[in-house]
């Protein structure tokens, strides 16, 4: 080969490598935080003087003592044990004919059916721990084998080697593209004669059938799926064929169905296929299947209760008419898109919460009471699944709060005392069966629905969860008395029409205990002397008035008129978030005053007016006329105050102003984008800041270098399982353990808890939100949030607010009336902030009314800060895509947003200083200072400041990959240039040779 070709070839090689290295490095720099996170790199460290004892600088202690390898192992063991216990107490036994479960000691040879047994749903696609992908994950097969079962391997291996896959049909709503959606079940032809032989004479002590349903982030479940055009939550043809095959075989002693789903499946078919027992197991995370096995063997007695209504027909919920796949485009969409300056997809979709407060059981049970009492045209066929008169048993398979046990309990309502805001309920629980177990005490309430309420459209659920408690394990014959202190505030209703505030209605109030919401309502109805009650099967029920307590209240619009936290007046903030504000009477809200006249039969369709389009455009910030000059603030005045000096100071301590004076405007603005592994600011004593993301695992891998174990943090069972335990001790414990994991992972805050609602059973992320009931969410958050916070880690609620669907989540406008909003979507977030010490919230992608959540002053400031007393950081959801409605930085900052999630282009860092300086806008600068304080307040008061004192130095660490990439770029450039020079020399030599030849 001639030298010139060698050098040109090598130049080409190095040119390619150089370009790849340069562009690759640019890309890595853009995702610096993510890269550092993935590689487990911290970008700062603390350096203390020699005489400092680190033990003196511990502000938040781990319960295990020093963070080290030995203690990490104890923590890991505890997280796994917690997972198993959560599953044992959270899985819900829905059916258990003739004591089919637990399986007897000799019933060990079983066949597992359903493709899900080989492809279990540990969790659905979202953020959080990837522990379920690790070697430390235990699947159903392994858990059952470990528990002593002998499994039909012929069929199991056939499932395992099958090419069938489940596809969640993730939809990219920006690009309107669908992923492949697959039910993931085998066709009946899969079960060949050879396979059928495998259970003909063996492995037929029980058929354990597992069905899965899967949504996820960006994946709404279908109301009419691509497979059969039916609800994704319904039983599908292949599943029916499978069950029929098992039934027809006549070989199995017992048929047990496991529902492996974070969504409420439609289960009206259990009797049809002679299913003996059904256990809802949710998404069990990486260790929960051990709990499932323990329930099957009887090692654990199930004590979970549903936190959703299991409808016979999921689309019978009125919320489905306008939500999810029934979102609407403006009827004048073309005109809207022409007028709007936002992105097309950002302003195209809307949903009206026509169902008002009637979500989940609040609809089914309220309509039930009205049908029993013969009021409100409740028996109308509108909303009926059968097309006939509405009938409770035709609509509900299992009510909210339902759950069986291997034993029986008796609960007696001993006493109710009302003292100020406290309603103290005393209940004695006795185990009257023959198996030890725990019992959940569910306390419900009914408040009056009278003429005032009808006139002013104050809607009332016939029954509402007020609080709950759980016993210890009670041996047969053993009793325990629980005292549950409930919050009277939860009995108040928001009157947005007349009082424009919370009211306590005039009339009779009832406290009731019951096995579930329906049972409690039947008890209330019994106390009212009603007749004709039924249970969910349609069987007559008389109710038990002894399980109720009645008292009366006078009309009261003052007690909850002011915030109990801040003293701020609580009054209408969201009038403009109601479509009726913009277009007269375009929405008729569902009202129990007349079900027939108000039940929504079709989605609300309206044309957006010019004023509405203008309001949809989110660039709303204007510099106030009285804004101070930038020069009236001191910035960049280095006084040597480190962040450590702010530890423990109040949120409004004057020293914060002094501390903030040290920052330049650019330094503060550089703190606005959240890359999930944020660089330190050594001069201000700010270390690198890393958040976690959940809700079912904080998401990270432990440092093998530091702690000798590089595995993932625990993927706990899904949040619905946790809620279904009705056990606040377990909720608090999960919080504590996640806080401990976050300490090992160096996290300041974790984006959990998931507090959105199961507005419909189809919400893509229902699996990681607690319940259909906002009060359930409110109550569950408090202990879990407190548990996390107890370790110096901030529990960040997400996604504030109304982000109850994944379909069109980018910018879908959610309209509502203020009662529905305050008592449902907002209530879901209130507990953690007002009572659970939560100091971080992540906003939703959606709009509420016309405004993106992050751009709503009414939400971010008027309610969150002024009413709820929130002190901490408010973050957008990920704005990586840079959609137009995400990029109104001045507006969002001005209303209270502090942090911009995955603002990869760092638009906030650029736009805000420019706006401040070009407009001499001291108002925006003041707000930027507040955002900086909000951000650093939670950092200063987190466990990552353990080891820091005012004398500590924060030292930046350059990630090793930056050095490697820099060296590679330099080396490739050098080699490339060298090869080109050598090529040039070679060509000159060739030329000289040619010339010499020509001369000679």
């Amino acid at each position: 080969m001639r030298n010139s070709r060698l050098w040109s070839g090598l130049s080409s090689v190095f040119s390619f490598l150089l370009i790849a290295a340069i562009l690759g490095t640019g890309c890595m720099m853009q995702y610096e935080g993510t890269v550092n996170g993935a590689l487990g790199i911290r970008t700062s460290k603390v350096v203390n003087e020699d005489d400092v004892d680190a033990k003196d600088l511990v502000y938040f202690e781990s319960e295990y003592g020093e963070l080290n390898a030995e203690n990490l192992q104890k923590l890991i063991a505890d997280t796994y044990a917690e997972s198993v216990q959560e599953e044992e107490e959270g899985a819900v036994l829905l059916k258990n004919e003739n004591g089919a479960l637990p399986l007897a000691a000799e019933e060990t040879r079983v066949t597992l059916f359903g493709h899900a047994v080989a492809e279990p749903l540990y969790t659905a696609p979202s953020a959080g721990s990837r522990g379920f992908e690790s070697e430390y994950c235990i699947d159903l097969y392994t858990a059952l084998t470990n528990a002593g079962f002998e499994i039909n391997d012929t069929l199991y291996q056939a499932y395992a080697s099958s090419e069938t896959k489940r596809g969640n049909g993730a939809r990219d709503h920006q690009k309107q593209v669908d992923n492949e959606w697959l039910m993931g079940e085998e066709d009946i032809s899969f079960y060949t004669d050879a396979l059928r032989q495998s259970w003909e004479n063996d492995y037929n002590d029980a058929a354990i059938v597992m069905f899965a349903r899967e949504g996820g982030e960006g994946s709404e479940l279908y109301m009419e799926d691509p497979a059969e055009g039916i609800s994704q939550l319904a039983l599908h043809r292949q599943e029916k064929d499978l069950l029929q095959m098992i039934k027809d075989s006549g070989k199995f002693e017992k048929v047990i169905v496991l529902v492996n789903s974070g969504w409420a499946m439609e289960l009206g078919w259990l009797d049809e296929y002679d299913v003996d027992a059904c256990l809802w197991i949710g998404a069990p995370g990486q260790r929960g299947f051990e709990g499932v096995a323990n329930i099957l063997t009887g090692k654990a007695n199930p004590s979970g209760h549903l936190t959703d209504t299991y409808a016979v027909n999921s689309v019978s919920a009125p919320a489905t008419v306008n939500s999810g796949y029934n979102n609407q485009n403006w009827t004048n969409l073309e005109e809207v898109l022409e007028l709007s300056t936002e992105g097309d997809a950002d302003v195209s979709w809307y949903t009206a919460q026509v169902e008002g407060i009637y979500i989940g059981y609040k609809y089914y049970e309220t309509r039930y009471e009205d049908s029993v009492l013969g009021q409100g045209n409740a028996n109308s066929s509108k909303g009926s699944s059968t097309g006939k008169a509405w009938n409770y048993a035709d609509e509900v398979s299992y009510p909210f709060g339902f759950g069986l046990s291997y034993t029986s309990f008796e609960q007696t309502l001993d006493n109710v005392e009302i003292n100020g805001d406290d309603i103290t309920v005393t209940v004695t629980v006795t185990n009257v069966g023959d198996t030890a177990g725990k019992s959940a005490v569910q306390v419900y309430a009914q408040t009056p629905y009278g003429e005032y309420e009808k006139k002013n459209l104050v809607e009332k659920s016939a029954i509402g969860l007020l609080d709950f408690g759980k016993t210890k394990i009670l041996e047969p014959g053993e009793a325990e008395t629980l005292t549950i202190t409930c919050d009277k505030y939860l009995l108040a209703s928001y009157d947005y029409k007349n009082a424009k505030g919370y009211i306590l209605s005039e009339g009779d109030y009832y406290i009731a205990i019951g096995d579930d919401a329906h049972d409690a309502l039947n008890n209330v109805l019994a106390a009212k002397g009603a007749q004709g009650m039924v249970d969910e099967t349609g069987a007559p029920k008389s109710g038990n008035a002894d399980k109720t307590y009645r008292w009366s209240e006078a009309f009261d619009k003052e007690t909850y008129r002011t915030s109990r936290v801040t003293g701020e007046e609580v009054t209408n903030q969201f009038d403009e978030y109601d479509l009726n504000y913009w277009i007269d009477d375009c929405v008729t809200y569902l009202s129990r005053s007349n079900w027939d006249a108000t039940y929504p039969l079709e989605a609300v369709q309206v044309a957006a007016t010019e004023a509405m389009v203008e309001a949809l455009d989110g660039d709303m910030y204007e510099k106030p006329e009285d804004a101070p000059s930038v020069s009236s603030f001191t910035q960049g005045d280095r006084k040597g105050i480190p962040l450590a000096a702010m530890i423990g100071l109040d949120y409004d301590d004057p020293k914060w102003e002094e501390y903030l004076d040290q920052f330049t405007i650019e330094e503060m603005a550089n703190l606005l984008p959240d890359s999930y592994n944020n660089n330190p600011l050594p001069e201000m004593g700010v270390p690198s800041v890393i958040p976690g993301d959940g809700p079912d695992g904080v998401g990270g891998t432990f440092s093998k270098e530091l702690y000798g174990d590089g595995r993932n943090d625990c993927c706990f069972p899904c949040e619905v399982i946790l809620a279904s335990t009705f056990n606040k001790d377990l909720m608090r414990r999960r919080g504590e353990l996640m806080g401990e994991e976050a300490m090992y992972l160096g996290m300041t805050h974790v984006w959990m808890l998931g507090a959105n609602l199961h507005r419909t059973p189809f919400g893509g992320r229902n699996f990681e939100y607690y319940s259909e009931d906002a009060t359930m969410s409110y109550l569950c958050q408090i202990p879990e949030s407190e548990g996390i916070a107890s370790r110096g880690v901030h529990a960040g609620m997400k996604h504030l607010v109304g982000n109850d669907q994944e379909n069109n989540r980018m910018g879908v406008a959610h309209y509502f009336n203020e009662q529905a909003f305050r008592e449902s979507a907002l209530r879901g977030f209130e507990g953690a902030i007002t009572k659970g010490d939560s100091k971080a919230v992540m906003h939703g992608f959606n709009r509420i009314g016309m405004k993106w959540c992050s751009a709503s002053e009414e939400l971010c400031t008027d309610v969150l800060v002024n009413e709820w007393g929130f002190e901490g950081i408010q973050e957008t959801d990920a704005i990586y895509l840079g959609l137009p409605y995400h990029c109104h930085y001045e507006t969002t900052l001005a209303v209270g947003t502090d942090f911009y999630c995955f603002d990869i282009a760092e638009g906030a860092s650029y736009v805000i200083p420019k706006a401040i300086k070009e407009n001499d806008d001291g108002n925006l600068l003041r707000i930027l200072r507040e955002a900086t304080r909000d951000h650093l307040y939670i950092v200063a008061n987190s466990s990552i400041m353990n080891g820091y004192s005012e004398n500590s130095k924060v030292v930046s660490i350059t990630p090793w990959w930056k050095i490697v990439m820099g060296v590679l770029i330099a080396a490739f450039a050098l080699f490339d240039v060298t090869c080109i020079v050598l090529l040039a020399r070679s060509k000159r030599k060739d030329k000289v040779k040619v010339e010499e030849v020509q001369k000679s």
């Binding site: 040109s8 040119s15 390619f16 370009i19 562009l23 993730a170 690009k175 994946s219 990586y880």
Partner: protein
């Protein structure tokens, strides 16, 4: 024509192949990118420049231009991959947030064709393109 082709060596045909790969990948990219919010004119521009350079090389061989053509194709493929990081992240995480996980197969297939173009261009740089 036959006479002209008779003067060409193996490297010439490798360059022709590289041009074909660049053309195919550009057509595929143009068919795919606009409907998936992935359009990047820099990718198209560098592919076109690379193709033009290779055509010039076919007419008048030049070692420096082969390096330039390789560099152009390299920029195109590297930009496509770096632009698509969000989609790869989503595919890995099983969610749809940063990009479009559903498009990973298409992105990879276009990148492979572009990558073959880069390798061909590099190979052609080592090879004799004109006889004699």
């Amino acid at each position: 024509m036959k006479e002209k082709l008779g003067t060409k060596a193996i490297g010439f045909y490798v360059i022709v192949f590289a041009v074909l790969m660049a053309l195919v990948s550009m057509i595929r990219f143009l068919m795919w990118a606009p409907s998936h919010a992935a359009m990047d004119m820099m990718i198209v521009a560098f592919l076109i420049i690379g193709i033009v350079i290779d055509i010039v090389i076919m007419m008048k061989d030049n070692d420096y231009l082969t390096i330039a053509a390789t560099a152009c194709y390299s920029v195109a493929v590297a930009r496509l991959l770096t632009n698509s990081v969000g989609s790869f992240v989503d595919a890995f995480q099983g969610i749809n947030m940063f990009g479009d996980a559903t498009q990973v197969n298409t992105i990879v297939s276009i990148s492979i064709i572009m990558g073959i173009g880069v390798v061909s261009s590099i190979l052609a740089s080592f090879l004799k393109r004109v006889r004699g």
